[in-house]
């Protein structure tokens, strides 16, 4: 049963990390615009133009 000394804190820390990650994402406003986010991934405007290799943005 000594294994519990490791397992339980591990479980709690992992769960807590998940919770912390969620709270952080909430705080940084990632749920403010749920509709827009899925479209933003399709936006390739930040890529450099394939033909011209210079920065003219």
């Amino acid at each position: 049963m000594e294994i519990l000394v490791y397992l339980i804190p591990t479980a709690l820390v992992l769960g807590g990390a998940g919770l912390a990650a969620f709270l952080w994402s909430l705080k940084s406003g990632q749920y403010d615009d749920i509709e827009g986010a899925k479209w933003r991934i399709l936006d390739d405007g930040d890529l450099q133009d394939e033909n011209t290799n210079n920065n003219n943005s």
């Binding site: 519990l4 769960g15 998940g18 969620f22 827009g36």
Partner: protein, 750 residues
């Protein structure tokens, strides 16, 4: 006269690090590509630090460094891209970051984390109880659970505790009272059990209960928020601002909240008047249809009062802003509205009704259990544990989800059908409606006047008249333009005539090769009074605009408010369902009678004052009818509040929209029928859900009273019933997805 500048200071807030921030509502976003277009374009501007468009709410937040660019520049850039933007008055944007929603979500996350971890420990204990767990390990697990559960209950439960405390202090019972009692008792009992090294602890039930209930709460909140942010956008798109004359004579566009009594305001022809005022300069005619329901233009001159929501048709006006002075229409409406609002709000929501019945019942059952076990010789401690387990298992988890889950699904359906709900319980009240009272002007008819079908122009002539009309801001000219657009099948743009010149208050004229053409008042086009009298008697409810061709032929065009395109079909659908449909209007008798005849509405009343509308609706309610009022005008606002439930079109005046329970968008009036249809179905499902949770309690209470409830059983029963009511709520969506006309062809009884 100098150019108008907007008072930007009123719209800008100072962000952190000296940046300026402004929120704009953007009109014209049709697809996701608009996001990139707008953001990319603005970020090219020097000084703009951040431009972020929220696609969900169609709002743009812009942040820029002080003194680098101006809001005017930003707005004009966006307008060049083809978007209309309107700044938000920071005073009106109540919660930019949705504080309440985030708070619920945080509580939900914490309780989710806690319930998963506690369940991990609980399952070990439950399986250990059947095999070889020793007391020390079990006790250790219980203590660990307590360590997680106690802060969670305190943090995540605070929403319920606060609400329950408020309710008790007001000597009320809402759903949060039994919830709080259940959660607190379960936690306390478990703590005591843990201290005494007992076999059973209910920490998992307490925390899981919070998790499910918070999920329900969050649904509920999201539904309201979606509607509210949409409604806020609408308010801003309506440009709730006015052009104020500064003491130095310059003009400044200011939000309404910055106006004070006595300020001077300019209203140009074709603009909607946004304040109540007295005319101090100028002569014009005003379209008061939104206010009084009357469709004919009203002549106004110096000294006449004008009301917010009316349309200035002809000349430029200077107004002095007044408060609702005594004995004006607005004052009267406000007073009536106040009384009507007080009388209302006594509707008890179905959920609260259920909890008023439920809480005493359950608490009595628990008390009887305690007494019963004591009589049969159980020890104090044992009897109390069993009594508390009755409270835990009957804690209204499913009840807390039963109604919000249905409301969320229903409001999603409403949203799809262009209906925005102002209040959640409107669904329940809509379901009970048996009498529908319509206002005529702006509700059954289109909000803008239309050129009547019998205008007698050829397609070519109409297009030419419309091109001339483009140069005029008069509402009647606009009606001609709309008619031309409707008929223009190729969807080509109409271009204004270059030589057109407008004579304020009279009409527009232009020289086209073969002579002069004119569009405007009959007098402007030289119509003989005999001809005018003839057409006026033919169309008594119409306003007449004249069009003079280059060869001298004059056409008299009747423009009137016509019925919405689907008014006839929708009213007949409602009649067929067995609703009692009535028409109450402030307009003249002839116009009302004509509309009622066309729609086959048997009971109609014309020339009603606001107080008469209220009186009529109260009479109906007195007879035990459940009245739905559909109206848009200022004169309807009190009636909207007095009815059991009310709907307004989006074109309605502000006051009416605020008084209505729901708002529908777009030209067709079909949403009224849809709203009733969906609500009926939703109400049925709500009742089913209440029954389902009732049956669940009926099954579980005897087990609890007999003392056989284990933590495992409590956890299973609780999650099981929650899932069942949620799935049942989703059925509502399914039934409206599959068929355009779902199986709800109900008919009102008797």
């Amino acid at each position: 006269m100098s150019e108008t500048t907007r008072d930007w200071d009123a719209f800008i807030t100072k962000g952190d690090s000296q940046n300026l921030h402004m929120d704009l509502a953007v009109d014209g976003i049709t697809c996701a590509a608009c996001i990139y277009e707008i953001e990319r374009d603005l970020e090219k501007v020097d000084g703009i630090e951040r431009a972020r468009l929220n696609y969900t709410s169609h709002r743009l937040g812009v942040e820029w460094k002080q003194n680098t660019t101006s809001p005017d520049h930003i707005v004009s850039r966006l307008e060049r891209l083809g978007y209309k933007v309107y700044p938000f008055d920071p005073a009106q944007v109540k919660e930019r970051g949705d504080k309440v929603g985030k708070d619920i979500l945080r509580s939900l996350a914490v309780s989710g984390f806690a319930s998963m971890n506690i369940m991990l420990l609980s399952i070990s204990v439950w399986s250990g109880n059947h095999s070889d767990i020793d007391e020390a390990t079990r006790s250790f697990f219980h203590w660990l659970s307590a360590l997680i559960a106690l802060p969670t209950v305190a943090y995540s439960g605070r929403i319920f505790f606060k609400s329950a405390y408020r309710a008790i202090r007001q000597r009320n019972l809402n759903m949060d009272v039994p919830i709080s009692i259940g959660v607190l008792l379960a936690t306390a009992l478990s703590l005591v059990q843990t201290i005494f090294h007992a076999k059973h602890a209910y920490f998992d039930s307490a925390v899981m209960l919070l998790f499910f209930l918070l999920a329900g709460r969050y649904f509920d909140h999201m539904m309201r928020r979606k509607t509210r942010s949409f409604a806020e956008n609408l308010a801003v798109l309506k440009a709730e601002s006015a052009t104020k004359i500064q003491p130095d004579g310059s003009l400044l566009d200011v939000p309404l909240s910055k106006l004070q009594e006595g300020d001077l305001v300019i209203v140009r022809p074709g603009e909607r008047i946004s304040v109540d005022g007295l005319i101090v300069e100028g002569v014009s005619s005003v379209d008061q249809s939104l206010v009084t329901g009357e469709t004919k233009l009203h002549e106004v001159s110096v000294g006449s009062p004008v009301y917010a929501g009316t349309m200035n048709a002809q000349g430029q006006l200077t107004l002095e802003v007044i408060k609702a002075a005594q004995n004006t229409l607005l004052d009267q409406v406000n007073k009536l509205l106040e009384t009507a609002m007080e009388a209302r709000g006594k509707y008890v929501q179905i959920a609260d009704k259920a909890s008023q019945l439920y809480a005493p019942l359950v608490h009595t059952a628990a008390l009887l259990t305690l007494i019963g076990w004591l009589i049969f010789g159980a020890g104090w401690q044992h009897a109390i544990i069993i009594a508390i387990s009755v409270l835990i298992i009957t804690c209204p988890c499913a009840l807390g989800l039963a109604i919000p889950a249905v409301q969320v699904v229903a409001s999603g359906l409403f949203f799809d059908r262009k209906i925005l709900l102002n209040s959640g319980d409107a669904i329940e009240r809509l379901a009970k409606v048996d009498t529908i009272v319509f206002d005529k002007t702006g509700t059954l008819t289109t909000p803008d006047p239309q050129l009547l079908q019998e205008h007698g122009l050829s397609q070519q002539q109409l297009i030419e008249a419309a091109r001339l009309g483009l140069s005029s801001s008069h509402p009647l000219s606009k009606a001609i333009v709309r008619a031309a657009y409707k008929l223009n099948i190729n969807n080509t743009e109409l271009t204004p005539l270059k030589q057109a010149s407008e004579t304020a208050g009279q009409g527009v004229a232009a020289n086209v090769g073969e002579g002069e053409i004119r569009l405007g008042s009959p007098k402007f086009c030289g119509v003989k009074s005999k001809d005018l009298a003839k057409i006026e008697s033919k169309y008594p409810e119409a306003s007449i605009i004249a069009y003079k061709q280059a060869n001298g032929t004059i056409h008299l065009l009747p423009v009137a408010q016509s019925l919405r395109s689907d008014a006839q079909t929708q009213v007949s659908r409602l009649l067929k369902r067995g609703y009692d449909v009535q028409l109450l209007s402030g307009d003249r008798a002839s116009a009302v009678e004509k509309a009622a005849k066309e729609l086959a509405i048997e009971s109609y009343y014309a020339q009603l004052q606001p107080q008469e509308k209220i009186a009529y609706i109260e009479k109906l309610r007195g007879k035990g009818k459940n009245v739905l009022m559909v109206g848009d005008g200022l004169n309807d606002a009190p009636a909207l509040a007095a009815a059991n439930v009310s709907i307004s079109p989006v074109s309605a005046v502000h006051l009416s929209q605020a008084a209505a329970d729901a708002i529908f968008l777009g030209e067709p009036i079909a949403p009224v029928f849809d709203a009733l249809n969906i609500s009926r179905r939703a109400h049925t499902i709500m009742q089913q859900n209440l029954w389902l949770s009732g049956v669940y309690n009926l099954l579980s209470v005897p087990v609890a009273v007999a003392g056989y409830v284990t933590p495992l059983l409590a956890a299973l029963a609780m999650s099981g019933s929650s899932v069942v009511v949620t799935l049942n709520a989703l059925r509502l969506r399914l039934s409206f997805l599959s068929a355009s006309e779902p199986d709800t062809t109900y008919k009102l009884g008797k």
